[in-house]
Structures are given as C-alpha cells and as structure tokens.
C-alpha cells in the first residue's frame, strides 16, 4: 500500500514523455486529457489502489512530478 | 542518405551559413575539420553532406584544437582546407593559428561570431572577435580577415578567402556574426565556370629543401606540399630560408618573424577592400559587418535630409585599411565609428584618423542588438551641431 502524489504542473506529458507509464509494473498511468499551464497533457493514475509502492515511477520521472510514499515507513530502496 | 546536391546557379533565398558552405565548395574546398558550435553549426552540418560528393572529406574532431591542426595537415597534404567555429573555438585554436601563419599554410577559418565573452549568449550575434583573430596568438604575425555583411557576401567572401589563402600562403578568416549567419536573404550563385579560382604555387618536382627558399622568400614562396617526394621540412620553430630550424642566428630570427608579415603587407593593395561612399566635408561613418548596413541606411536617410554624410565600410578587417581610413579622415569633417561591440577596432581606426579630424564612437544601444539607423542619425546630427 502506498500513496502516489502527482504534480501535474511539473509533468511534461504522456505524449511527449510517458516514462511513468512505461516503467509502472502495474500499468497504472494514463493521460489525464487536460493541458497544464506549460502546454503538456500530464498523466494520471487509473487505479491508485493497485499501486505496490515500488517507486519505479518516482525514480524514473525526469521532472520530479511524482512522489510515492510507502506506508508503514518503508524507505526508497 | 543519397548523395547531397549543391545549389544550382541562380537566385536563392538562404541563410548566411548555408551560403557560406556553398561558397566553400565552389571555392574548391576539399577538406573541412570542425566541431559543432552555435551559431556556426550549420556549416559543418551542410559540408558533411556536400564534401564527400565532390571527393572531399569532412572530419568532426574531438575538439577545436584538433580541428585546426588537422585542417593544417590536410593543407600540407595539398587540399584546400578549412575549419569553421565561433569565438570559443577560435580561442582554443589560437596556438595553431600562429603555427599556420608562421609555417605559411593556406587555410580558411570561419568564425561566426557570437555574444561573448566566455559562453555568453550563443544564439546572439556580436562582432566581438575582430581583434582576437589578428592578435590572439602569441608573438608577431599577420593574418587576413574578411568581414561579410550579408549572406551573399558569405558566399563571395569564401571564394575570395580561399583565393587569398592560396595566393599568399596564410590563414584567412571569414568573420560574419551570428546575425548574418542565420539571416536569410537573396544569394546569387554563379555557374562554376564563372568563378575565378586561385591555386597555390607548388615547389617544382624533384627539389629538396636545400635547393629552395621555402619559407623566407620575400615573395610568396612555392609550397612543397607533401607526398610528392620534395622532402618538405616544416617546423613551427624558428627556421631559415630552407625551413631548417635555427635558434641562434639573430638575422634568421628576425626574418622568421617578419617575412610572413611583410609578404602580406607588401601586397596589401591586392588584399584590402573597402566600400567608400563619401565626399569631402562629410561626416564619414566607418563600419564593418552587420552594422555597416546600419551605417549605409543612416547615411541614406541623412542625405535624404540634405546632410553631408558618407560611409567607409571595411570589407577586409586585416590587414587593417590604414591608408583608406587616413584618406577618408583627411577629407572628412569628422569620423564616426560604428562597431557591434564595445569598440575593438576603434584604436586602430583612431590611430589613422585622429591626426586629421575628430573621431567618435557609437556602439549599439544594447550589446546584442544592432544599431538602429535613427540612433546613428541622431548622433551624426549631434556631431554636426
């Protein structure tokens, strides 16, 4: 169980980047469909509850647009 | 990729850097070594396509030092050779610019000047390298430098540059700024057969150094290019008339340092080119490169208002047009120097003009922007009042 927070203003978009979607072993990322201020269409999480807290998305996002906090004080590995 | 093709003769609307690359091929350039840098990168980008189609070689080197060194090597191999860069690259090349001058190597060096110092603003043009190309290497030496003000001149000056390099066995700079490098304008490309090309004189077959005056010939000496059994002895150390190293004889030293300078200065009339458009009593605006266009636009506007304003635009920056500047100053009411920098050529101009008339300087309002004709006109009027 983990809490994923997205910062859509920092995201450079599913179409142009989409790395989170590639690396999420649960395939949880999809396009949000809404343009942010910078002109990109950020991603969103389809089923947050399926997240395993693996943090791959956080570590692979080039724009610090994702934070994954593991519950029960687990640490990033 | 299929073989790239040169632009056909006729009128084209292209950016300066592309015109320059086409000019290089037309001039007979068959070797370019370079390293990418804004705002010159379009030149290697294009020549890497074109050169192999005309039997030439393009080498992207590990750095700019290697670029100039391999271009010099290729020149000694007998090819018309060049490199192209911007100010940071010229800074790195300085040591071997001196070598090229002192070994009398024909070589064309393009410096598409950008806003400096240091990394500065790569995409903005500024004529900040005009003295560094002539005085940036150690010791006394003399180069030739041409300063185009339009894409058409970028094409034309490349042909002239290679011709001068071959004729005088020396490094020749072509010095557009980034503004001209990236500007598009009409460029008329002539058919190859209408282009006059110079070829270096080559030392006669079978001669060895002891039979020649390779280096210190007061006229430009024939070049013993490599690979023809001439046992060329080329060295950047002080050398005598046969090219043989000599570090003890004061006469040899003196000649080593002065001959390659004097061979150019003696022929300055064949090299120095200005566009003079002034009458006695004019305020003469002296300018070069991009802002020569501001100068002419301002003079046109001034004349339209009945003011006596003329221009002297320097097409060659080096050897310096001392006589031409002095002649203008002798007739002028005053000289106004426009430069797209903080006034680098000003001392050279003032040195020739100050004895004859007042000399003033005008830089662009903000460095990185070129002089607006109105600002020039305003200053001219102040000078007249």
């Amino acid at each position: 169980m983990a809490k994923v927070t997205l910062f859509p203003q920092a995201c450079k978009g599913m179409e142009d980047c989409g790395i989170c979607a590639l690396v999420c072993p649960q395939h949880l990322f999809t396009s949000s469909g809404e343009m942010n201020e910078a002109g990109y269409v950020p991603t969103r999480l389809t089923e947050p509850e399926e997240c395993t807290g693996c943090q791959s998305c956080m570590l692979s996002c080039p724009d610090m647009a994702i934070v994954v906090v593991k519950e029960k004080g687990e640490e990033a590995s | 990729m299929k073989a790239a093709v040169r632009l056909k003769p006729g009128t084209h609307f292209i950016e300066g850097n592309l015109a320059l690359a086409e000019g290089a091929i037309a001039a007979g350039c068959r070797f370019m070594a370079g390293y990418p840098i804004t705002p010159a990168s379009e030149i290697p980008n294009r020549l890497s396509q074109l050169l192999p189609t005309v039997g030439g070689v393009f080498l992207q080197t590990e750095d700019e030092i290697a670029a100039i060194c391999s271009a010099i090597g290729a020149s000694w191999a007998g090819l018309k050779a060049m490199t192209a860069t911007s100010g940071p690259g010229v800074s790195l090349m300085q040591e071997n610019i001196g070598l090229a001058a002192s070994t009398e190597t024909p070589l064309v060096i393009v410096d598409v000047m950008r806003f400096g110092p240091s990394t500065g603003v790569p995409s903005v043009g500024l004529a900040g390298d005009v003295v560094q190309v002539a005085r940036g290497s150690h010791g006394d030496y003399q180069i030739i430098a041409l300063c185009p003000e339009s894409p058409q001149e970028m094409y034309d000056h490349m042909i002239r540059a290679f011709n001068l390099a071959e004729r005088f066995r020396c490094p020749v700079f072509v010095l557009p700024d980034g503004f001209i490098g990236h500007m598009r304008e009409q460029v008329v490309i002539p058919p190859d057969q209408e282009i006059e090309l110079a070829q270096r004189k080559i030392a006669p077959a079978g001669t060895t150094p002891l039979e020649r005056q390779d280096f210190l010939d007061p006229e430009v000496a024939p070049m013993p290019v490599f690979g023809r059994g001439r046992q060329a002895h080329v060295t950047s150390s002080c050398h005598n008339g046969q090219g043989m190293r000599n570090l003890t004889d004061p006469e040899v030293m003196h000649a080593f340092a002065t001959m390659p300078i004097e061979k150019i200065l003696r022929h300055r009339d064949q090299i120095v080119e200005v566009a003079a458009d002034y009458a006695p009593g004019d305020v003469v605006i002296v300018a070069y490169g991009t802002v020569a266009r501001s100068a002419r636009a301002a003079a046109q506007a001034a004349r339209a208002q009945g003011l006596a304003v003329g221009t002297l635009c320097l097409k060659t920056l080096w050897p310096f047009a001392d006589q031409e500047v002095a002649a203008a100053a002798q007739q002028a009411r005053a000289v106004l120097v426009l430069e797209n920098n903080t006034g680098q050529m000003l001392p050279y101009i003032k040195a020739e003009a100050a004895a004859h008339c007042p000399v003033q300087f005008l830089g662009p309002r903000l460095l990185g922007q070129i002089h607006e004709p109105n600002a020039v006109l305003t200053r001219v009027k102040e000078m007249m009042s």
Binding site: T5, F7, Q9, A10, K12, G13, D16, C17, G18, I19, A21, L22, V23, A38, Y40, S56, L59, S60, C61, P62, D63, M64, V67, A76, S77 | M1, A4, Y35, P36, I37, T38, S41, P44, N45, S48, Q49, P52, F58, Q60, E62, D63, E64, P88, S118, T119
Partner: protein, 281 residues
C-alpha cells in the same frame, strides 16, 4: 501537496520551478539519481548540500546541477569541468566535488582532463551522461554514437566506432568505474552514492535518452522507445565478459567495471602540507 513537497525539493533552488530539458529527457532521471543518492547520504551520514560543490561543462547534460541544485555550483566551459573541479577539490579538500556533464563534454573535447584525473586519482565523482549524441547543438555525431548511425554530421553513416568510455577510464587508472542506463535508476543511484563515498576518482557513466536529437537521428523517436531499447539490450558486465565481441555487438554492458583502492591525491597533499608545515614551523 504543493510542488515544494517533493522530497528532493529541499535540495533544489526554490526559484527554479521547472527544468528546461525537453520532455522525456534522461537528464532529469540522472539529476534525481544524484539527489536520491545525496538524500540517502544525508540520512545515513548527515551529509548536506553544503558539503558539495557541483561542477559542469556545457551541453544539455551540464544543466543537471546548474541552476537546479541548491548548492555551490560552477557551470564552466565546454569540456573543462574536471579541470575546474580539480582546483576546487585541492582548494577545499573536505568538500565533496561532483561533476555532472555530457558525453561530448567529458569524453570528446574534455577527454584529456578525464583520463588525467582518473590517472591522478583525485577524489571527484564524475557522472557522465552518455546520450550518444550532441544534444544541445542539434544532433551531431558524438564519440559515443554507434557506428553506422546517420547523424547530422555523419549523414552517410558514422564511420567511427562507439567509444567505450567506462572501460578506457578504468584503464587510465580510476579506482571506481560503473555504467548503468536511465532504465536502471536504482542502480544508477547506488553507483553514484558509492562514487561519492569512495575516496578517489569515481566515474559513473549513465547511458541516457535524448529523445529529441538522438530520437530523431536514430528514428527511435520517443523517450520510451529509447528506454525500451536500453531495457532490451543491457547486459551485466559479468555475463558480457564471457561473451565474444560478435555476440556483444549492439549490447550495452552495465555494472561495475572496477572498484579498488589507491592513494588519493588531495589527501596526499594534506599530509605533505602537514609534514612540511611542521618541518618549517
């Protein structure tokens, strides 16, 4: 939760709200790997950003620390960051000095400083982003470009082989050398952390994606396509060592090239000064 709440934001300059890299560029992943490594060192050893000086050259990858990282940063000329960093380290031997820059910067124009810093064994951590191209100037060949690829300055195919930079740096004498790709952010972070901890010269090559320039010339296109390429072609060094050159063609060997001990330069200087100071005094 505002942007500032990203756990790494405490290590970045507050006024730098966003990176100026292209979408999907691997530089952001490398930047994070560095900061995550520092974050761990912060928690484990109490290191802070004030203990670091970051040095970079010129190129897209040179923007990793500058202006993003909230620390002393020195953004230098193309190819020279290691030379600057050497002076910084000798002047401030207690600081951690980390160089982050591109493959063109460190291995083309800067190659001489790289091999000599490796040989000298001065305590720097060098993170080289290898995207196989000159990103910033628009897609020209880099020494790291794979043979055969048509780039902007090799329109008929690159004739020169791809530079095995990590192997050469190891041969030049560096005590710690590792290579990972941006598809391996955890391993990358661990290697960087190890590099920082190492007293001596450490070199971490991060094979990375430049979707805009490399993506264009390689026709791989998107960042994700390049990352998939990394995923599918990476090979652990241990395994690679058992394979023939032909079998290795097109593979990216990853892992630690070496990890050894050797006398470090800055600390030897500290000892010498202490000794002579006493003799003098």
């Amino acid at each position: 939760m505002s942007l500032a709440e990203h756990p790494l934001r405490k290590y970045t300059r507050p006024h730098v709200k966003k990176t100026t890299t292209c979408p999907g560029c691997g530089n952001g992943i490398v930047a994070q790997a560095i900061l995550w490594a520092i974050d761990e060192l912060n928690r484990e050893e109490g290191l802070s950003m004030d203990d670091f000086v970051f040095v970079s050259g010129i190129g897209c990858s040179a923007w990793i620390p500058s202006p993003l990282f909230a620390a002393d940063t020195l953004h230098t000329t193309h190819g020279r960051p290691i030379a600057f960093a050497t002076g910084v380290k000798l002047g401030l031997p207690r600081q951690k000095v980390l160089v982050a820059s591109g493959d063109g910067d460190l291995a083309a124009i800067g190659g001489n400083h790289l091999i000599h810093a490796a040989r000298r064994n001065i305590d720097l951590t060098v993170v080289m982003v290898n995207n196989g191209i000159y990103g910033m100037t628009g897609g020209q060949t880099a020494p790291t470009t794979p043979r055969g690829l048509n780039t902007i300055t090799s329109p008929y195919g690159t004739m020169e082989p791809e530079f095995n930079v990590a192997a050469m740096v190891a041969a030049a004498g560096a005590p710690y050398v590792a290579r990972w790709t941006t598809y391996h952010p955890r391993q990358l972070k661990r290697a960087i952390k190890k590099g920082i901890q190492k007293q001596g010269f450490s070199f971490i090559e991060a094979i990375s994606q430049c979707p805009v320039q490399y993506g264009r010339v390689s026709k791989l296109g998107r960042a994700t396509a390049i990352l998939e390429h990394f995923r599918d072609h990476s090979l652990k060094l241990a395994k690679a060592r058992e394979m023939s050159e032909e079998e290795l063609a097109g593979k990216i060997t990853v892992g630690e090239f070496c990890d050894r001990q050797a006398p470090e330069l800055a600390s030897q200087w500290s000892e010498l000064r202490a000794r002579l100071g006493k003799e003098q005094g």
